[in-house]
């Protein structure tokens, strides 16, 4: 066992480090304070363009699409090094994570030539219009209607929980094209220009007070059939392909919270009934348990990288992070607030998840739901890893409009 790079990996890491050291500091937002969205986004776009020019925007992609034709392991190495800075890259995560890889698989060569590079350079942003008020975990239950009209589709309905919709130029959307067949069989996948008349984006205010998601309303939105991805009524296949996309990324075992070291420091500072919190046996036991959980996730990530380095592709096992980290953030935040007593509810204005436990406590419920609930992820482990049967389905062979 060792934690060393292979010679090729080490060479790329050195190259990436040198490049980042030269360019990244000018774009780092650490200590930049609260930045208006437009300013942060502008800085992000400049960074993204620089990165794409160097081939680092999608290392596994060919050079014609801003890549290096590299391996998934090389992609991870870049991400690990980039994560040492705090760069304004969040705006592009969804865009380059799902819609753009789907475009590369399903769009025509002309469309790829038109859309991929601007997205990789951060000039255009894409969103994913999937969830609806009545369809979250059960995605195939979406209702947004697409009716064919000549060489166009006419869309009516509502999407929700769309990240970055307010800054997106385009979006991929799953629609109900045929309600007379069972639900998985009547879906069609399209891409839309977010400036098409009839599309209205309204931000959602979350329970934490943040506004990272939007509702998107579609009223008689006309989309040319040339913007269809996959077959008519074959959208489920395209949606499943989404799930096959890259699952590996840098894992932050703290879930963006202040982390265990900060909790230990806090426990050193505050006093409880019988003296300093850090001398309290219950506090020490919990600290040890969280360390074990975090170390378990970190070392599993090493195991995943080992497989990746040997050329294997990670499977559903990666779900372990999404199962373990959000709950841990919630519990750890609550525990840290408890240690502070009445002071746990208060902080100076402008606190972030990484600096004050109550922010993590407020945000954790959303984190346990977004991108796969705790329950759905346990189903994934049970069904895909342990090969247990799926739940009994009462809706599988019934036409959608008879459900």
């Amino acid at each position: 066992m060792d934690f060393n790079d292979t010679p090729e990996e080490a060479a790329l890491r050195a190259e990436v480090r040198a490049w980042l050291a030269e360019h990244a500091p000018a774009y780092d937002v650490r200590g930049a304070g609260e930045m208006p969205l437009a300013e942060g986004l502008a800085r992000g776009r400049r960074w993204q363009a620089l990165k794409a020019g160097r081939g680092y925007a999608k290392i596994t992609w060919p050079r014609e699409f801003c890549g290096l034709g590299g391996t998934p392991m090389q992609q991870v190495i870049y991400q690990q090094e980039e994560a040492k800075y705090r760069l304004p890259i969040d705006y592009f995560k969804v865009s380059l994570g799902i819609p753009i890889p789907i475009m590369r698989r399903f769009a025509t060569p002309e469309q790829q030539a038109r859309y991929l590079t601007p997205a990789l350079r951060g000039e255009e942003i894409w969103c994913q219009l999937f969830s609806e008020p009545a369809a979250g975990s059960d995605l195939a239950g979406i209702r947004l209607r697409a009716v064919r009209d000549g060489d166009h589709w006419v869309l009516n309905g509502q999407k929700i929980w769309t990240s970055w919709a307010q800054v997106s130029d385009f979006g991929v959307v799953i629609t109900r094209s045929n309600p007379d067949v069972p639900k998985h069989k009547g879906l069609t996948y399209l891409f839309v220009d977010m400036r098409t008349p009839g599309i209205e984006v309204r931000p959602i205010k979350q329970l934490s007070g943040g506004q990272e998601f939007s509702e998107v309303f579609f009223t008689d939105v006309r989309v040319p059939d040339s913007q269809r991805l996959g077959e008519i009524d074959g959208g489920w296949k395209v949606a499943l392909a989404t799930l096959m996309e890259e699952r590996f990324s840098v894992v932050d075992v703290t879930g963006g919270g202040p982390g265990l070291d900060a909790l230990i420091e806090l426990a050193c500072e505050v006093a409880l009934e019988h003296g300093p919190a850090i001398e309290d046996s219950d506090v020490r036991q919990r600290i040890a348990e969280w360390y074990v959980a975090e170390q378990g996730l970190r070392t599993n990530y090493y195991r995943m990288l080992t497989a990746l380095s040997k050329g294997e592709l990670p499977g559903p096992e990666g779900s372990i992070n999404k199962i373990a980290i959000p709950s841990k953030l919630q519990q750890q935040s609550r525990f840290a607030m408890d240690l502070m007593g009445p002071a746990g509810v208060a902080t100076a204005p402008g606190a972030r998840r990484s600096t004050h436990p109550f922010v993590g406590w407020l945000e954790a419920p959303g984190y346990r739901i977004a991108g796969g609930t705790d329950e759905i992820l346990r189903n994934i482990i049970a069904e895909q890893v342990l090969k247990l049967p799926g739940d009994v389905r009462t809706d599988k062979d019934v036409p959608f409009n008879k459900l």
Partner: protein, 389 residues
Amino acid sequence: MNFDFSDEQLMLREQGRRFLSERCDTRAVRRILEGEQAYDATLWTQMAELGWLAIGLPEQHGGFGGAYELCVLAEELGRSLAPVPAASTLYLAARALTRAGSDEQQGRWLPAVAAGRAIGAWAVHERPGSQRRQPVGSFVSAGKLHGCKTPVADGAFADFAIVTARATADASAPVGLFIADLRHDSVRRAALGVVDPTRPCATLEFHGTPVESLGETEQVATVVDELTDGAAALLAFEQLGGAEVCLAMARDFALERKAFGRVIGSFQAVKHRLADMWVKIQLARGNAYYAAWALDAAGDELPAAAAAARIASTDAYEFASQESIQIHGGMGYTWEADCHLYYRRSRSLALMLGAPREWKERLAAQLVQRVRGETLRAVRPTAAQAQAV
């Protein structure tokens, strides 16, 4: 990054799995459970013939391999519930001799260990409570050991023991490590009733037993801690192997057993329980691998890595063995079903080197020291200052 065992080590694991699945199925384990013998002496001899009892011993005494080989083998011993004194002999007594024994002492015992002719015991415990911090009542006077150790794993049939005892009868005398030949007639042994009869324990009374100091050990507490950490890393692999079997058994049963017109493995309550077992096992595996690396490197990382592995593996095994009975339902509560073999073993291993809470305390102490040390070095902002940012 190569955070995995080498091909040769994986081959040894495979060999171990194959051999033990044929030679040590649960029928063989039950023969020990039901009291036919104290341990599987034939299996122990076969393990010696395969060379397994020489793993990790110094080469000049016939040994080969090291920490990694011992780890992969431990996983298979745990998987098969092998009723043999591997932990006492290999993970503790032989490692103590290797770490602290004189060349003469090593030469006297280690080749015999490798040949399967000498079973070792680790006799440090005297009364209920913490494993590491308990007062030592046993003492040595004029080269003779007086005192009582209990419980001692495999003590009823071990040939020698590594014993902690005060260097003189004086209550304030420093504690030393001694090696005792248990075949001497001043040793009285009494087998104890135990939660897992496939891992037997005994009380050992020493009435003036001739002993030798183990090498010239000075930092006894440090050596004992180091040996306990090493054994914890190895036991973590045994626990991991056992936990994997519990998950597999529960899963297979859930795919077979029908209730309310469908297999119970299709109910989310059951699926999620199995998924939770799987998650705990993954966390334990990562931690155990890291402990294997730390044990091999024998550096500063070992105490925290061993403690984390022990905590994670204990949690995974105890959860898996307990919930496996639950998933098996009434059948799981019978003597006939194998579930209780793992339930018993998981508890027995959980306490052998000290209970989980003691290991959590040990880990917390390491972490606090680390953070405080770093804070001093880096002069980082305190949490209170950071909150105000």
